[in-house]
């Protein structure tokens, strides 16, 4: 794939939160309308050739066998081709990649990529916490989501002297960014004092080290270069992407200070885009927990291994820092409706590249934004997408 084959011509989302009053279908329809409404010159919905939908876990709202066919009818596109992608926490990011490939191949001209997740229709106990009893009955027993990342915090602290204050700097920064984002689940900000007083969730992680459980939906519209001109004079282009896998269980990890899937996905995305980490102006990375962001910014090549915590503490990743990270508030403040998360991150990158991020706008010197997710039971898969505003 060469440059500029796929344009992002529209993107949008609904404000994230505990959306008890809206159904899965209503969320999908709202996100679709938001993306459609963001197309500069407008788009007829009949232009859409195909839909890629990302929903990670229908069981969280009672739908065991959810498939791609749920969405077209809900958003007024009955009959349109639709396929569901499930690839753990990077589901949304991977749906975007698959949608981009569908356009790049020439099979489709206009593709809707939409991510929808209902995380709060069931109680926490029967929702995400219930994973403590899932997977291998012995070797995975007791693994709630924080267990998948807390061992990395323990080891990162041991090897590099990473401190609670460094983890806290990530949380405080992302909650500050969230306070500037009208789409964020949490918009109240967070003081270091309040962070340090958080109750223990999974030692060494405490309350504000963890992202919330959030309902949400987000959508982007992709178009071929030929069609993109009809929709916008200010397109954002897909510069590159990469996917990599790693062994799925924690005990199979070689390292507890690095996520190998992220390293692999980033390498492929940079190679495809023909750039390096130094060319990135801002990044939306997977901060399901504070330690995850520290691992990410090292594994993506932004900071040396072991220096991610210090970079956060020194303010190098704030909105006016050397490399702004998670300007939207990240998963920690904006929320993590799994299937929608990656697409919402891409929407933030789209706004930043178009100069539309309002109070969160950062300087885009090189014109490259990076989006990243990592997930699976033991961070077994990562997806990196790189967008650019360069013609």
């Amino acid at each position: 794939m060469s440059w500029n084959r796929v344009a992002v011509v529209g993107a949008g989302l609904l404000p994230f939160g505990e959306l008890f009053d809206r159904s899965y279908e209503q969320l999908a329809s709202g996100a679709f309308q938001a993306a459609l409404g963001a197309v500069d010159h407008g788009m007829a919905k009949e232009d859409i050739d195909a839909i890629i939908v990302s929903t990670q876990r229908g069981t969280l709202w009672g739908q065991e066998g959810i498939g791609g066919n749920t969405i077209p009818s809900a958003i007024g596109l009955n009959g349109v081709a639709c396929t569901r992608i499930e690839n753990a926490c990077p589901s949304g990011a991977d749906a975007f990649r698959i949608g981009a490939m569908a356009v790049a191949s020439g099979v489709h001209d206009v593709v809707l990529v939409i991510g929808v997740e209902k995380m709060r229709d069931k109680s926490s106990r029967e929702g995400l916490l219930a994973r403590a009893a899932s997977g291998h009955p012995i070797y995975n027993r007791g693994e709630t989501a924080p267990v998948l990342f807390a061992p990395f915090a323990t080891r990162h602290m041991h090897e590099f002297g990473t401190t609670r204050e460094m983890l806290g700097a990530v949380a405080v920064k992302n909650h500050h960014n969230g306070s500037l984002d009208p789409y964020a689940h949490f918009q109240d900000g967070l003081s270091m004092e309040r962070y340090l007083g958080g109750v223990t969730v999974c030692d060494p992680l405490t309350l504000f080290d963890c992202c919330p459980q959030t309902d949400g939906a987000a959508a982007v519209l992709l178009a071929s270069p030929e069609r993109a001109a009809d929709y916008t004079d200010k397109p954002v282009w897909v510069a590159g992407f990469g996917v990599a896998t790693d062994h799925p269980s924690l005990h199979e990890k070689q390292s507890f200070v690095e996520l190998a899937a992220t390293v692999g996905a980033a390498k492929r995305a940079y190679t495809m885009a023909g750039i390096g980490p130094g060319d990135i102006d801002m990044a939306e990375v997977h901060d399901c927990f504070t330690i995850t962001e520290i691992l990410d910014i090292e594994d993506l090549g932004f900071f040396d291994k072991g220096k991610g915590g210090l970079a956060a503490l020194n303010g190098e990743t704030t909105l006016d820092g050397r490399l702004p990270i998670n300007t939207s508030g990240g998963l920690l403040a904006k929320g993590h409706p799994i299937g929608a998360t990656g697409i919402a991150q891409l929407t933030e990158c789209w706004w930043q590249l178009r100069g539309e991020a309002q109070a969160r706008q950062v300087e885009m010197r090189n014109g490259f934004a990076l989006q990243h997710n990592v997930g699976g039971r033991g961070s077994g898969v990562s997806v990196v997408n790189i967008l650019t505003n360069r013609p």
Partner: protein
């Protein structure tokens, strides 16, 4: 031909609760001493496993060196189910072993010794493993609740009269008396109906007759023998000793340390008598049977000194923790079921590798992938030249967490540890309660524990625990060849 005891292994839970704390729970201030109590992940099977592992280590044997397994307990985890099969698999024993579970009586432990003794004497097996284990299960608020403890002991038997100790005589009396019992649906063992009736008409008459006969069958007078005597209420043991004219009651120490260990008490007391040369008589009584055995000890039996090393344990356990661990204080919330049903294909496929702690070793790069059934190829090199191996059980903590937020039936704090085993395999397992506070680089050993009880079925796997000096010393000795 006579049968020898070549090694023993004792085991007990680490926790102790003060009898005064139990009494205080019922508004009373009486009570002295401590009794052993299980954690929520321990039961008669996990205690039996620990004792058996220690006895095998003391004998310098592996599980597959033994031809038969006889296990006696009054509290098997399944009233009907694969009790013996789970224990045998967790010990790495062969599928073709002889053996049986003896259950349903206080005397089941001693009876397991009798049956194994006959099997060895008859030539059915060359080497037999006898295990007795039991867990406290007295009614709430009863006097017995302040007496019962928990413990286990295993003995390795083989044919011949040249071992350190030789089984010489045995005897039993069978009388249709109801004392302590548990009926269908009973949550706990009921107390004797009348203490004086039990003492005067059941306990003392049977044991005086049995003990007297066993003593008379030998050449050493009663006051020159070492005795193991039952003591269900903390007083009857002393009375019985006096009535028999007994010399040293060598079982008194372990009774004080653990409380009355039920079906394990008889053989635990016997094991306490095997640490020095002499003539021994061990008795037990209950459930309509009085049973006894005479043993001639030539030299200290390997492992016997470890009975005294069971020690005082951890004494900070509260009565509420005891009740929760025993399943008598249960949260009224709907528990989350595990994704793999206990009787489902996942366990049918995986139980041998889980209970036996197996890995898949790569002949090409040496990496060990665990468990084998989900690793058809090597996690190190991707090759498929794999052989199933037993994993080392000792290792070092690489990293860890302590989970504080989980739904029922989980209980916080729950440690989860990534352990680098000494054979190079890496595992992530739960830690026992005693691993809270351990850190990176600390040594642990893997022990069999109960991970869950679901649909009435106990689910077992291995957990990391602080290393037991008893076991680690034996392993180190065996490797250097220092052990006799």
């Amino acid at each position: 031909m006579n049968v020898s005891i070549v090694a023993v292994g004792p085991a007990a839970p680490a926790r102790r609760v003060a009898v005064a704390d139990i009494a205080a729970g019922w508004g009373e201030s009486a009570g002295r001493g401590h009794v052993a109590v299980c954690d929520g992940d321990e039961d008669a099977l996990t205690l039996a496993w620990t004792a058996a592992r220690r006895a095998l280590a003391a004998a310098d044997l592996d599980g597959d060196d033994v031809d038969g397994l006889w296990w006696g307990t009054a509290h098997p985890p399944f009233l009907q189910g694969p009790n013996l099969a789970y224990l045998a698999a967790a010990l790495g024993m062969r599928e073709g072993i002889e053996g049986a579970l003896l259950a349903g009586a206080r005397t089941s432990g001693m009876e397991a010794l009798f049956v194994a003794w006959d099997a060895v004497a008859a030539g059915s097996v060359d080497r037999a493993l006898v295990v007795a284990s039991d867990v406290a299960n007295a009614g709430l608020g009863t006097a017995d609740e302040r007496q019962v403890g928990a413990g286990a002991v295993a003995l390795v038997l083989r044919l011949g009269d040249d071992g350190p100790a030789v089984l010489t005589r045995r005897s039993s009396l069978t009388r249709p008396h109801l004392d302590r019992y548990r009926g269908p649906g009973d949550a706990a063992v009921r107390e004797a109906y009348d203490g004086r009736l039990h003492r005067e008409e059941v306990f003392l008459p049977a044991l005086k007759a049995l003990g007297g006969a066993l003593a008379a069958g030998g050449e050493v007078p009663a006051d020159g023998l070492r005795w193991s005597l039952p003591d269900p209420d903390g007083r009857l043991g002393r009375l019985l000793g006096k009535a028999l004219g007994a010399g040293e009651v060598a079982s008194a120490g372990v009774r004080t340390a653990l409380g009355d260990a039920g079906a394990a008490a008889g053989l635990l007391g016997l094991a306490a008598c095997l640490d020095a040369p002499g003539e021994v008589v061990a008795l037990d009584q209950g459930s309509g049977r009085a049973v006894g055995v005479a043993v001639s000890v030539r030299s200290a039996v390997p492992g016997a000194a470890d009975v005294a090393a069971l020690g005082d344990g951890l004494r900070d356990t509260t009565y509420a923790e005891v009740l929760r661990a025993r399943g008598r204080l249960v949260a009224d919330t709907d528990p989350i079921d595990m994704a793999v049903p206990p009787g489902g294909a996942g366990f049918v496929r995986g139980n041998v590798e889980l209970l036996g702690l197996h890995g898949a070793a790569c002949a090409d790069c040496g990496t060990i992938s665990t468990p084998p059934s989900v690793h058809p190829t090597c996690i190190g090199c991707g090759g498929d030249n794999l052989a199933e191996v037993g994993l080392e059980r000792t290792g070092t903590i690489h990293t860890f967490v302590v989970n504080a937020t989980m739904p029922a039936p989980f209980e916080a704090p729950l440690p989860l540890l990534v352990v680098d085993l000494d054979d190079g395999a890496r595992l992530m397992v739960q830690g026992t309660a005693a691993t809270v506070g351990l850190g990176i680089g600390d040594r642990v050993e893997l022990v069999l524990r109960r991970y869950a009880v679901e649909r009435g079925a106990s689910i077992y796997g291995h957990k990391a625990a602080p290393p037991s000096t008893v076991v680690l010393d034996r392993v180190a000795d065996a490797k250097t060849g220092a052990h006799p």
